[in-house]
């Protein structure tokens, strides 16, 4: 099956939360067929590379295979946290979208939900 390098947004959804200067971002596979790809390739190292420009010092990954979900805990990524950050988005609420956009994985059609606009990429 053909694989294309696409943002993980094609096969997963995410939500970011904050506690102090620590951001946590979940990464949840839409389909069972996308889970192995995410589990094997969404590593702490890759996520660290995506957030180091924001000051991230360390990324820890937690796994919930029964829910097809990973949870990344990212230290020092919030410019001091909601009470001292100078950023527009003091909570880092939008960072889930950053992960979905910047994490690029080799993705095949069967990993993508049937209504997804990403399926067009495989046509023609």
């Amino acid at each position: 099956m053909i694989k294309l390098d696409l943002p993980v947004h094609a096969i997963a959804h995410a939500r970011a939360g904050d506690k102090g200067d620590v951001s946590n971002i979940s990464l949840i596979s839409y389909l069972d067929s996308g889970w192995d790809n995410i589990f094997n390739l969404a590593t702490e190292e890759k996520v660290y590379e995506i957030f180091k420009h924001l000051g991230a010092t360390k990324v820890q990954r937690f796994e919930l295979p029964s829910l097809k979900a990973l949870n990344f805990v990212i230290q020092s990524a919030l410019g001091g946290g909601v009470n001292s950050s100078l950023r527009l988005d003091r909570h880092g609420k939008t960072l889930s979208s950053h992960l979905l956009h910047e994490l690029i994985l080799p993705i095949s059609e069967d990993m993508i939900p049937s209504n997804s606009p990403y399926l067009k990429k495989f046509k023609g």
Partner: protein, 453 residues
Amino acid sequence: MIEKVFIGCGAGFSGDRFDASIPIVKEFKNINAPKYLMFEVLAERTLAIAQQFRLKNPEEGYSPFLDSYISPILDDCLENNIKIISNIGAANPMGAAKRILEIAKKQNTKKPTIGVVLGDDLLDYMSNDEILDSPTMEGLDFSNNKITAANVYLGAQPIAEALKKGADIVIVGRTVDSALALGPLLYEFKWKQNELDLIGSGTICGHLLECGAQVTGAYFADPGFKDVPDLANVGFPIAEVSQDGSFVITKPEETGGLVSKATVTEQLLYETHDPSNYLVPDVTADMTNLTLENNGKNRILVQGGKGKKSPEKLKATICCDNGFMGEAEISYAGPNALARAKLAGEVISERIQILGLQGQLRVEIIGAGSVHYSMNETSSYQLPENGDYRVRTSAIYPKKDQAQQMVDEVMSLYCCGPAAGGGGRGYVTPQSSTASILVNRDTVEPHIQIKII
């Protein structure tokens, strides 16, 4: 024996929709089982602000939104035996209870019995030095600042006790959010402190409810990829909890939103770090064995919650004043807008230097990756030279007039900046910093009181 307990959540943060609880109350009218409505309205900083209000007027210091949340549903709740549990007390739970009695009198409802949980305010029984000498989990060195608020997170037990004493409404100050649901479950199901899996399950249930509609399709929609029906009328969550700790997450009939495995999973991990060690005063909850199952339309059955021994110490949040933040914005649009916005940012930076304002200045361009990058970082998005961009600057200074000076510099771009800047806005807001400390249970527990009024 009670088979099921119903818990609805009518607010997930201070300022959440004031009418969100009405469909839950309507649904509960037809249910013949123990029914609870929780309101979670107390963020970390909210309490520091509330303390300031209480210092100015000892009658105040409870949530400024109390009337807006309670007035629309109070009579229906009292008439239909729907009990209300809320941290709406903020810095003054007793003041909140008195205000609710006033509302009840004005609305001519039956007189509610209100349970008030006290003891979270460390400033009542610990000195500044004792607080500062406590081990710090995270946050700043506060030694040079005056503490404006110091509140320890209480657990679910005091809420359960207040219910046992006959409360129709339980008002708390700082209490862990999940306890607003666990408290009623401890009381109704008589779960014992050593039944850790049940307490873990009840905590996970509370965690899923505590942010309101974030579990029922709000904060979820990504049009075309992840659609949510009728988001404008999103229904707030209801948990139907069974004696064995399993529960169904659903929402009222005739509301918008969506309850699916995906919405529940997103909320489960929201503000969670290690999912096998979710620490609250009541238990160390473990989410890693959870299963989610479809149980009808907009119904997800959650099973398999576990619990381990509760953490030895309690977490407290302390707040202090931390200067003033200036924020200001100005827009550039049309041909070559990106270059004009960048020039505006450079001018502001240079002017701040000339004025000698010390401290970090952040300059970012809204429309050019502001929330994921800043001006000095390269956005991965392809940015058109022509477009609609908004320069934003921010800085925190010790004094209010310094923050105002920075804001004024951005406003000066109206006449002194690049061509065609418009829509300038500026704000100066007082800042409160927080840190988390650990406190011994022995220090706190003797001060916990449940008052019934």
